[in-house]
């Protein structure tokens, strides 16, 4: 276990280094930043769904809450360090309450998906109807459909005038993603994470073994929401405006699709899925020949039919079927883990 953690850390550092030095040669850092942020958002769902078996249709709710919490706090406080913290805490607290309500009520599967979806819709509708002057938190008007523009963006802690933006912001996001990735790895490889996977596989058995699955699911759900909230705050800083669309149904569904396309049950899959699909969306948006929704739709359908497991697990399988097999033949069982190395999951 220590061995694989070490391996993952090296992998993450290498990956982030590649992202910082090589990726900007192909894609502008500004676009890369949003890909990173979406990657982090997908990772948050990939963790609770892929490893905890909780299909949350409302990850966008935490993303949006994080963004709004950051913006409202930043307007009132005037700098960004404390607001970043609040942006993680608010969705986490909200998720712990919502999670407790659902998991202690033993809601599962599609019912859980619908409740999270409905909660997201409620937030969406509420935020959309806050255009009036009576909706104000401290100095921040909620602004309804138009959202909130013009708030203090990320600055160096303690120095509100030293803004972090442009390329620096890209580096900041890349490093943050690396850190979040490592934290996720730590959690998933701890006993907590292994038990979460156990619950995913067989809830009754884990319950009979004496684990409090309700509490454990609530905690996992909360951690996922905290990461989504962080991604939301980063998004707010990138876009310099937040609108209720963050809570929209299509945003929620998009996160799910990123996870499926990238590969569930992996950490890298959702990140790659998010980045790949978002990039595709930007590029398709640049042509007018065929409607880009039409192409996106086709791609998704083909994915389900041809690669239902997602990209990363399929690559893993291919790897172990071809080159990995040979390595195994040469080496003996104890080194088995290495065959999964190149796609780091």
């Amino acid at each position: 276990m220590i061995d694989s953690l070490w391996r993952d850390s090296v992998g993450a550092v290498l990956g982030i280094a590649l992202l910082i030095w090589v990726a900007p040669l192909f894609i502008s850092p500004y676009t890369l930043t949003i890909l990173i942020i979406y990657g982090m958002l997908a990772l948050s769902l990939g963790m609770i769904w892929g490893f905890g078996g909780i299909l949350c249709f409302g990850q966008a709710a935490f993303f949006g809450l994080g963004a709004y919490a950051y913006v409202i706090a930043a307007i009132n406080i005037g700098e960004s360090t404390l607001p970043m913290l609040i942006a993680v805490l608010v969705p986490a607290i909200f998720a712990s309450l919502l999670g407790a309500m659902m998991f202690y009520g033993r809601l599962n599967d599609v019912y859980l998906a619908v409740i999270t979806l409905v909660v997201t819709l409620i937030l969406f509708k509420f935020m959309n109807s806050t255009a009036g002057p009576e909706y104000i938190i401290g100095k921040a008007r909620l602004g309804g459909f138009n959202g909130i523009p013009g708030f203090p963006t990320l600055n160096m802690p303690g120095n509100p005038n030293a803004y972090i933006w442009g390329d620096t912001y890209f580096y900041f996001c890349a490093v943050t993603l690396g850190v979040v990735f490592l934290i996720t790895t730590l959690i998933l490889q701890s006993s907590f994470g292994r038990i979460a996977v156990g619950i995913r596989e067989n809830e009754t058995r884990m319950s009979l073994l004496g684990y409090d699955i309700r509490a454990r699911k609530t905690v996992l759900f909360t951690i996922g929401a905290a990461i989504a909230g962080l991604a939301g705050a980063l998004f707010a800083n990138w876009a310099e405006i937040v609108t209720p669309n963050l809570f929209s149904l299509s945003q929620s569904a998009e996160i799910i699709i990123w996870c499926i396309v990238g590969g569930l049950g992996t950490r890298l899959g959702p990140i790659l899925g998010a980045a790949g699909l978002s990039l595709l969306k930007f590029l398709l948006g640049q042509q007018t020949l065929i409607d880009n929704l039409l192409i996106t739709g086709l791609i998704l359908v083909l994915f389900v039919l041809i690669l239902p497991k997602g990209i990363v697990p399929t690559l893993n399988d291919l790897w172990s079927l071809t080159i990995g097999q040979r390595i195994i033949r040469h080496r003996r069982r104890p080194r088995r883990r290495t065959r999964r190395k190149p796609p780091r999951d």
């Binding site: 009520g105 599967d109 409740i115 979806l117 880009n292 039409l294 739709g297 998704l300 359908v301």
Partner: protein, 288 residues
């Protein structure tokens, strides 16, 4: 007095339109367990089918009640053969595939019809109840809503085809052993579900401005209604549509439409928390 009649009609209208919106999904999701995220787009296409037919000179009632359901049913047939057929039993995959379909159809509709708002006007004139004017079309929707419900009840409960469909959905192997082809049954059931969605879209089309992305308006309400209804299809549909329709209209009249919508959603959360398997898991057990 006049006002209470008007309000009663609005309540019935809200319930009937929820029944219409959810009927197709009740078949495809409730019976076949296919999470059909393209449900809204089936409805959207039903609307476009109607408008296209009306513009081509077809009588609007014929367009709504015959052309739209059959067209969308046939589209459903093609989708079932090409895609859904391979995904039965894979709940999450059906969701992704139908989401893809939903985007595909939105894109297609944009390319064919353009992204502007279109529509037809209602074929029934407004009528007066005492001092009040009321949309005559509401009565049409109420009638169709309850006819659809009665028809579903009759087909599922009263005919051999309904019996076979229900049986196949329960244990396909057993149905196959008894000489019915589950493949065919699934195909026909999907056709019916798609046709019902198309019908709903067609019937609601004259009331709204239709755009390619109109489908999104209905999808959440439809899922909530079907899921809150629970295992008994027809009674579930009726009871949850009545429950949500009443809540919605109550708050709409008392406060505003947006509060009505939000209260519908809030009540759905509470309902699912208390009755996680839907209304009919507790009441009307085992009935249709």
């Amino acid at each position: 007095m006049d006002l209470s009649v008007v309000i009663l009609v609005e309540f019935l209208y809200a319930i009937a339109s929820l029944i219409l919106i959810s009927a197709g999904l009740a078949v495809i999701f409730g019976m076949m367990k296919v999470i059909n995220l393209a449900h809204g787009e089936f409805m959207m296409m039903g609307g476009y089918a109607t408008i296209t037919a009306v513009n081509a000179g077809v009588n609007i009632f014929f367009a709504m009640l015959v052309i739209a359901p059959i067209t969308i049913g046939l589209i459903g047939l093609i989708i079932e053969r090409l895609i859904i057929r391979r995904l039965y039993g894979r709940l999450i995959d059906t969701m992704l595939a139908t989401w893809g379909l939903s985007l595909f159809f939105i894109g297609l509709a944009k390319m064919i019809f353009g992204n502007t708002t279109t529509g037809v006007s209602t074929p029934i004139p407004g009528l007066s109840i005492g001092d009040y004017q009321i949309n005559g079309y509401n009565f049409f929707i109420i009638i169709i809503g309850f006819i659809v419900l009665a028809l579903m009840l009759f087909v599922l409960k009263g005919t051999r085809a309904g019996l076979i469909a229900r049986g196949t959905m329960q244990i396909p192997e057993m149905a196959a052993a008894l000489g019915c082809s589950p493949d065919r049954v699934y195909l026909v059931t999907f056709f019916c579900g798609a046709a019902l969605s198309g019908l709903a879209g067609a019937i609601l089309a004259p009331l709204v401005g239709l755009t390619p992305s109109s489908g999104a308006t209905y999808i959440a309400e439809a899922f909530i209604t079907v899921i809150a209804g629970g295992p008994a299809l027809i009674i579930g549909l009726l009871s949850s549509a009545s429950f949500f329709g009443t809540i919605n209209q109550l708050f709409t009249f008392a406060i505003s439409p947006i509060v009505g919508e939000v209260m519908l959603l809030v009540s759905a959360v509470i309902l699912l928390r208390l009755l996680p398997q839907g209304i009919t898991s507790k009441f009307f057990k085992g009935k249709f």
